[in-house]
Amino acid sequence: MPMPLSGAEWAAALVFVPLLAALACFLVPRAANWLGLLAATLILFATLGLVRGLLGDGPLRVAVGAWAAPLGIDLVADGLSAVLLLMTALVGLGVSAFAPAYFAEHSEQRRWFWPLWLLLWTALNGLYLAADLFNLYVMLELLGLSAAALTALSGSATALNAAMRYLFVSLLGSAAYLLGVALLYHGYGTVDMVLLGERLEAGAVASAALLAMVAGLLLKTALWPFHFWLAPAHGSAPAPVSALLSALVIKASFYLLLRLWLALFSGLAGLLPTLLPELLGLLGAAAILWGSVQALRQRRLKLLIAYSTVAQVGYLFLAFPLTGVQAGEIAWRAVLYLALAHGLAKAAMFLSAGGLLRFAGHDRIADLDRAAQRLPLTLTAFVLGGVSIMGLPPSGGFIGKWLLLEAAFTQGRWGLALVVLVGGILAAGYVFKVIGYAFTATKIAQEGEAVPLAMQWSALLLAFGAILLGFAAPWFWPLLEVGAPFAAPLAEIGTEAIAEVGAVSEAAP
């Protein structure tokens, strides 16, 4: 690079590269594969640049169009968003490497996959960098529509039905979120998170807004009572799409919920802000148990993995009740690490399920005819992914589980600790159910179809990523500290940038 780019350029690149790549893929469908891969590598490069920038000179706050916060829209990047951007880049690269081989025959789907996927990627990157609530609404909408369109890509009856339900769910969620934004804007005069964080005080408006936004986002994150749409959607979508949905899309709405909770509502007094985390923790625990039991009952592999996502989402919400006085920091760090590890592992599992589906023509678990020996790479990817999902030691999942347990034990929350452990055991149950069948032979021997190496290796590399996370924890903590996202609301990030603009708005009441 001729001159070292500052953080702002990287942030801009993160949003505009996938956008322009999507348009290019739409314009020139034949070159879609190469454009997609190029975009994926560029995005990874940009993310690493951003991370180096963050580590170098602290959290980033860029005013788009030089119009500072209350008027214009700001892009914010701190430790929390950097880690999730990194996950998106890694999983995105994996899926982009997987997709060309997967869609080799049905070129029609390939033609539409790339533009939709890159627009989804734009929405993800934009969402992690946005600090403006309405901007986040547009990102959510872009995300929801592209995800629904991608789910319906395969065109099968179940896929369409699932996509339809998913579309309505995400539209309803965004509408509720928008309602919350409207209330907050009219209540406190701005839609910027930092300013809102300062101006917000407990009251009817704040509670109503909190309720609406949390309800909308819970619907999109598919936490337990609102999980009904997830399994059919992730189960019936094409493999790379279900990998994206499970690993990335779910995490975006969770990130948004987390950011809102940390920036705006965690500081508030009043009944709802204290009651809500306990409720979320309860729903999370229910999600873990219900999701795992359902996963155990499934006879089809992709549905099993989908229900596993329902369970793993439950883990992410366990941290809310744990943000007590001492171990708050550890709980957030645990959950973030779980999200990161789950992203990589779940993507690996879905991609390997795609490989198995291509190999056997079906994904009935009981008939995985000797897959262990005939398709070793793919199954290893599934196993390593499973190891991280279960939270067995060498993996990132283990680090997350360890920190969560540590937080639970320091605060004496035995119930949560028990749920985490039981969740791990049940996860082992359904993962090893699949592995067990991969070793046995079915009665009628099935001859398998060759699975291209690109598909196998992309799944395997993602799985290795999930395992290596187990050892890479020390590298992540400094990154996570940038901007101290968990310590206090975003207030003090770059307040000086707003000060000089604020002069005018002070004139207003």
């Binding site: 309405f134 319906a152 039905n161 579309l167 309803l172 928008l178 309602l179 409207a182």
Partner: protein, 103 residues
């Protein structure tokens, strides 16, 4: 001033009405209608309260937001309708089947 309140309340009415219809109606086209009603309600709430600003001009920022919202609503509706037609062609029904893992 009261017109702001009236229309804001109307907006709330629309939201709740649309939400009721979204849950109750089975036909997907009706659900799309319900969604549009909800969106209109929210926009009414958002831009209606903008009128509270003293002086001639209402607060432009919510207006811009509502404009964007309307365009997004149109896009969503178009996609939903296309998906309904595709679903109708694929499954012959225009309502959400209970597609548990039946096959």
């Amino acid at each position: 001033m009261t017109s702001v309140l009236v229309f804001a309340l109307a907006g709330v009415g629309l939201i709740v009405l649309g939400f009721y219809a979204l849950l109750v109606q089975r036909h997907l086209l009706r659900k799309v209608l319900a969604f549009n009603v909800i969106s209109s309600g929210i926009f009414l709430l958002l831009a209606g309260l903008a009128r509270r600003a003293p002086g001639a001009e209402p607060d432009p920022v919510p207006q811009a937001m509502v404009l964007t919202g309307i365009v997004v609503a149109v896009a969503a509706t178009a996609l939903a309708l296309a998906m309904i037609q595709a679903l109708r062609a694929a499954t012959g029904r225009t309502w959400l089947g209970d597609d548990g893992d039946e096959e």
